[in-house]
């Protein structure tokens, strides 16, 4: 067996795609119109599109999170960074800056947040979970300062279009997530960055001793995570035409981590797959949308979610893999 990249996908990715298929099937069972699509004003409408559109912010967060987790780290601050960048974008939009200026500022702020996290982790050697917790906690405060405690709303056509327009019949956030995913996959796989990230994640000491510039790679990784959080934050603000410092991106860091884990990247670092993290994000959103469509009382939301996730993780566990292997052989 050779495990070239496509090879690795075709074998290792089976559980992820099977999970997605199972969740979609379940959605179809509780809501028979799940796969219905219709075209309206050159834009596709349907539950599947909702899954893609609503899943886009978590999918984008999961892109950066995948790289961070591959280095054996974690970025708890992405939800708060979303709030900060959304606040910056909304405040500037309310003051009628150009879209280019708004995006540049939001991305710069996101990169800065990532750099801060990276500095704590790579230079000061603070454990990632603690280092990023700092910004997770203070980030919403910073966002509050930007919005002065209010929900800043705007009517900026350009910024509204970021989440509100469509391309190729798909909502813009979906297109952004896809393009970013492809770009990031190209960045890590066409350069040596992916190998170096995996190497640091598996054994940072050995990698450093082999001459790998671990600090720079870690800094870059956290910065990418900050940037993806910025993009997600701008989309979230654009979506509701306002910035809600208290609630934007709330708990999404956990969904992003879950997406990466469901996508098969180990929290212990090492091998990662950006494509599969996207699949993981879709699984989570398909489940969320399915719950909303099912009409179950909301008290059951979290229970259903927990049961499904527990089932997914059990199915993907090495123990289950051994069991399946055994069943196949016998």
């Amino acid at each position: 067996m050779t495990s070239t990249l496509p090879g690795r996908l075709s074998f290792g990715a089976l559980p992820q795609f099977a999970t997605l298929a199972a969740v979609l099937l379940a959605n179809w069972l509780v809501f028979p119109d799940f796969f219905d699509l219709r075209l309206q004003d050159g834009r596709l409408f349907g539950s599947v599109i909702d899954v893609l559109n609503r899943g886009a912010p978590v999918a984008i967060l999961a892109l950066g999170m995948t790289l961070v987790i591959a280095t054996k780290g974690v970025d708890l601050s992405v939800g708060a960074v979303m709030a900060i960048c959304g606040a910056v974008a909304a405040t500037m939009a309310a003051a009628d800056y150009s879209l280019v200026a708004i995006l540049a500022a939001a991305l710069a702020v996101g990169a800065l947040c990532g750099l801060w996290n990276g500095f704590l982790v790579a230079v000061l050697d603070i454990q990632p979970i603690i280092a990023t917790l700092i910004l997770m906690v203070t980030g919403r405060g910073i966002a509050q300062l930007v919005t002065e405690g209010q929900i800043v709303t705007f009517t900026h056509e350009g910024l509204i279009a970021v989440a509100g327009s469509s391309a190729l019949g798909l909502p813009m956030p979906v297109v952004i997530a896809l393009v970013l995913g492809l770009a990031l996959a190209a960045l890590v796989r066409l350069t040596a960055l992916g190998l170096l990230i995996e190497s640091i994640g598996v054994n940072r000491t050995a990698s450093t001793y082999a001459g790998v510039d671990s600090r720079s790679v870690l800094l870059a990784t956290y910065m990418i995570s900050g940037l993806t959080a910025a993009v997600a934050g701008v989309i979230a603000a654009s979506d509701i035409r306002g910035a809600d410092a208290n609630n934007a991106g709330l708990w999404l860091e956990l969904d992003a981590i879950l997406a990466v884990v469901v996508g098969g990247t180990s929290l212990f670092g090492g091998r990662f797959s950006i494509l599969l993290s996207l699949v993981g994000a879709l699984v989570i959103q398909a489940m969320n949308t399915g719950i909303l469509l099912s009409g179950y009382p909301p008290e059951l939301n979290l229970i259903v979610k927990a049961v499904v996730i527990a089932a997914i993780l059990v199915l993907q566990s090495p123990a289950a893999g051994r069991l399946f292997g055994f069943l196949r052989r016998s």
């Binding site: 119109d33 909702d50 209010q150 208290n246 609630n247 934007a248 909303l292 939301n301």
Partner: protein
């Protein structure tokens, strides 16, 4: 530790001296506010100042930063200063007996604002001014019943955070109001966590689940923010909220007035930030001739409609929501 105390003292002194700049007033009232936890809370503080000014009352506000110990310290400072009355927006329900006993011994009446306390001894406070979240839901339901009339109406409900008391109560009140009208029926109910994003997402799925939204008659949201998200979802699906679909929600934040002014929402039930106004009146009456107010003053839960929306928006947009 002692430095911290010193700092606290300094902060209070500053806060008090700034707030008492109103000058020679008949009455001095100390207000221990929870902190700036939400836009509504900020509006409550602004409105309290405005109401005090209207009545020529010297209002001293101490911000407790969501900590009970700060509130207790603030009340003791107020007692030491010999204020005429103390307003308390308690951050938690228990643990107040001792400090309120001290206020009682100093013969300073205490008025609870917005939230109540758990205490066996209701002589510890003069009265409590609070809203009634069950009643708010009821008002919203009655508005809808009246507006819809006799035709059949499928209602979608956007609930607040599962298990939170406003969500439970606003649902309860609404259910009670529409129980008498069999033509009104909640067909879908989901939580939108009181946020715009979730309100929008839930509404998108409701639209898919309810035949592209063609059968929806009304949307009831437990707060305005979710309703604003829902309005966006409906518009993006090519529907006409406010016209084809009746939109009713609770809170009366500025942005919902904007939506009403644009014809996209129909009504909001106010959770008034003016808790201090009725409290001032009760205290003034009590000080004048010893009039005992009722133990519970329920604030008005007024329905606002599009006709006054533009004016209300202008009046509210600077209150700090």
């Amino acid at each position: 530790m002692s430095f911290k105390k010193l700092l606290m003292g300094a902060v209070y002194t500053c806060a008090l001296s700034v707030a008492s700049a109103a000058g020679a007033a008949e009455l001095t009232v100390g207000f221990s506010q929870i902190g700036s936890e939400s836009g509504w809370r900020a509006a409550e503080t602004s409105v309290s100042k405005i109401e005090a000014e209207k009545r020529g009352i010297d209002l001293k506000i101490a911000d407790a930063q969501q900590k009970q110990e700060n509130q207790i310290k603030a009340i003791r400072t107020f007692i030491a200063q010999g204020v005429d009355a103390i307003f308390l927006a308690p951050v938690v329900a228990t643990g107040w007996d001792e400090v309120l006993e001290e206020a009682k011994d100093a013969e300073i009446p205490v008025v609870l604002l917005d939230r109540t306390i758990d205490s066996k001894d209701d002589s510890l406070y003069l009265t409590a001014v609070t809203s009634d979240t069950v009643y708010e839901g009821k008002v919203a339901g009655e508005y809808l019943a009246k507006t819809v009339g006799d035709r059949d109406c499928k209602i979608l409900e956007l609930q607040g955070t599962v298990g939170s008391s406003p969500a439970i109560n606003r649902k309860k009140g609404f259910d009670e109001a529409i129980a008498a009208h069999p033509n009104l029926k909640i067909v879908r109910s989901q939580t939108g966590d009181f946020t715009r994003t979730k309100g929008k997402e839930v509404m998108e799925s409701f639209i898919k689940a309810e035949n592209g939204g063609k059968d929806i008659c009304a949307v009831y949201a437990h707060n305005d923010d979710m309703q604003i998200g829902a309005i966006q979802a409906l518009k993006e699906a090519g529907l006409k909220p406010g016209k084809d679909i009746i939109m009713v929600s609770i809170d009366a934040v500025p942005d919902i007035f904007k939506a009403m002014a644009e014809g996209e929402a129909n009504a909001t039930v106010e959770l008034t930030p003016n808790m201090a106004g009725p409290a001032f009146d009760a205290v003034m009456a009590f000080k004048k001739d010893g009039t005992q107010p009722p133990k519970w003053i329920q604030t008005e839960s007024k329905v606002y409609l599009p006709d006054t929306a533009a004016a209300e928006y202008e009046a509210r947009k600077n209150l700090g929501y």
